[in-house]
């Protein structure tokens, strides 16, 4: 399913209040932009920064919109486009590679019926190939919303993992 079919996000009053709370927790300090963006991204169901919110931040923090987008596009953990409820980040670095991470790539593509960076029809999962997140002792590993799942050496373990994520 193509990402362009997902509707643009609307900045509701409720969401704006939550964002204001995050800004307050960061002392409304523009230099804490990276942390602010990460916290806001966690609020959004599909884990990304909608355009409306980027402009809202620019106004509230008195930071140029170009600086906001410079940050979002620079850092791998931040996204300008909607991802999914459970973005499955598969490690593509050498330790996981030599521990047969291709099993994870092929199994997930097969089970979910999507390719890398595509989203399942229900918006639940997307597949992302990411660099090492320090779980090398549990290779091959994936990371989903900040939680690491390691030792994914066969199809059964991967199916098990998916069934946990509702």
């Amino acid at each position: 399913m193509s990402l362009s079919l997902i509707k643009n996000y609307v900045l509701t009053k409720e969401l704006a209040t939550k964002i204001d709370l995050i800004l307050a927790a960061h002392e409304n300090d523009g230099s804490q932009l990276v942390g602010i963006l990460l916290d806001i991204q966690e609020l959004i169901p599909n884990h990304y920064i909608p355009e409306e919110i980027a402009y809202y931040l620019a106004e509230k923090l008195d930071v140029k919109i170009t600086n906001i987008y410079d940050c979002i596009t620079f850092y791998s953990s931040l996204s300008t486009t909607p991802r999914a409820k459970y973005p499955i980040q598969i490690c593509n670095s050498i330790v996981c590679k030599v521990n047969q991470n291709d099993t994870i790539f092929t199994t997930l593509k097969e089970l979910l019926g999507i390719d890398l960076n595509e989203v399942t029809y229900d918006g639940r999962f997307t597949l992302e190939s990411v660099t090492c997140f320090g779980a090398c002792d549990m290779a091959p590993a994936v990371r989903i919303n900040g939680k690491v799942y390691g030792y994914l050496t066969n199809k059964a373990k991967i199916e098990n993992l998916l069934s946990e994520l509702i």
Binding site: C71, Y75, C136, D137
Partner: protein, 419 residues
């Protein structure tokens, strides 16, 4: 049978990592109490005597760094803990943060006291965000107990620690890029000079140290009997955390005395190779590290011996790959990493990485020529000499050492030799 040591890791499993009371019961904050009876210069001298080198990868003499930071005359100095641990195959700092978070807090306060800093920042990579609550709790409890704030332990010393998060950028492990990130910008490295010890975070004098380097501070200060100096070999005194992974049966973090041989590390500590297969190569220090063949197995793990064998300690990572992966597959994977992580600012790194990727594909397809190999060597040298930061400088370390150690892989078949 080789052994591991419990000097840096002595607190692991000894206390409840969410409780400052539990930490203090096993000697927590004794090092800080000792530190404030000494001067900054004295503390730097103790560190220098133990010949501690920075453990993030650059191996700069830590005692010298602290002494230099102390000598800068300025208000509002800063100390930073670099917890960005982005080097692939490196997860030793993760172990320290998970198992001894209070030690890091205590050591940062000691570092702040040593160099006369008012503010400490911990820059924790986003991929370790599950450790944020642990660290925030430790900071909060330290403040409650008066180890942070104003007039700490009645010495007129003020210090605060702020926890910042990375957002998925390997280049932010570089000191100036890290600082740019804390300042709320994209993490692009700065031109040096000016050096961050004079002009760093918000243009203030800044001292950046790795998690492991800092965690040593409290242990060394309490080491009255100089137990640390009884370990090691030659100029590589003491112990080191290494993270061993890849095709080994027992990957993990081990604290070893310097001088343990690579063979002992791979076969005794890490349990040997999966399926007892032959080793293809070993890489020391993460993706930016040089590689070696199994000839290095009998080399002692010390700064000097590894250097003589053509590799470096680097981040303390040791990657072992068996014969199921080819050298070229390994090199292409490494190149993918650097192509992705290059910030793109400087031409040597941005264009160099781009072209190296194309050359490596030719190598993989078997369509490379002698001229291509010569170009690869030239570009690698150019990147090492003229990149803006350490990422560009070390991106081709693996490739250059591969050309030295495995030259037959790069030979051009005679029918394809062209001018």
């Amino acid at each position: 049978m080789s052994k591991t040591v419990r000097f840096i890791t002595k607190n692991f499993g000894k206390y409840d990592v969410s409780s400052i009371g539990s930490y203090m019961e096993c000697g927590g904050f004794d090092a800080l109490k000792k530190a404030i009876t000494l001067s900054g210069e004295e503390i730097a001298a103790i560190v220098a005597e133990a010949k501690i080198k920075g453990r993030g990868g650059a191996a700069y003499d830590m005692g010298r760094k602290l002494a230099q930071a102390k000598s800068v005359i300025a208000e509002k100095k800063v100390v930073i803990c670099n917890a960005d641990e982005g080097e692939p195959c490196t997860f030793k700092d993760r172990m320290l943060l998970e198992n001894d978070p209070f030690n890091l807090i205590e050591s940062m306060i000691i570092a702040g006291y040593t160099v006369d800093a008012e503010d400490g920042y911990i820059y924790l990579r986003e991929e370790y965000c599950h450790l944020r609550p642990l660290l925030l709790n430790a900071i909060r409890q330290a403040r409650t107990y008066g180890f942070l704030g104003t007039n700490i332990l009645g010495k007129g010393f003020n210090f605060e620690i702020h926890l910042y998060s990375g957002a998925g950028a390997y280049v932010c492990g570089e000191g100036t890029a890290l600082i740019e990130s804390i300042e709320g910008k994209a993490g692009r490295p700065r031109m040096k000079p000016p050096f961050i010890k004079q002009c760093g975070l918000y243009n203030r004098p800044t001292c950046v140290n790795n998690v492991e380097s800092l965690s040593l501070l409290s242990h060394i200060l309490l080491d009255e009997n100089k137990e640390y100096q009884t370990y090691g070999m030659g100029d590589s005194i003491g112990t080191k955390l290494i993270s061993v992974a890849g095709n080994v049966k027992n990957p993990g973090v081990f604290e070893i005395p310097f001088g343990t041989t690579v063979r002992e590390i791979v076969y005794d500590l890490a349990g040997g190779i999966d399926g007892d297969r032959p080793i293809r190569l070993l890489q020391f220090g993460g993706a930016s590290g040089k590689i070696a063949s199994s000839k290095i197995l009998d080399t002692p793990y010390t700064y000097e011996d590894l250097k003589r064998s053509g590799v470096t300690v680097g981040s303390g990572a040791i990657l072992i790959i068996d014969d199921r992966t080819s050298l070229i597959e390994f090199l292409q994977s490494t190149q993918e990493f650097f192509s992705h992580e290059s910030c793109g600012q400087c031409t040597p790194c941005r264009e160099g990485n781009r072209h190296m990727k194309l050359f490596l594909q030719k190598l993989a397809d078997g369509t490379h020529t002698e001229k291509d190999i010569a170009s690869m060597k030239k570009i690698a040298k150019l990147m090492a000499m003229s990149s803006l930061c350490g990422l560009g400088e070390t991106a081709q370390s693996a490739l250059v050492s591969a050309i030295n150690q495995f030259e037959d892989v790069f030979h051009v078949k005679s029918s394809e030799v062209q001018g």
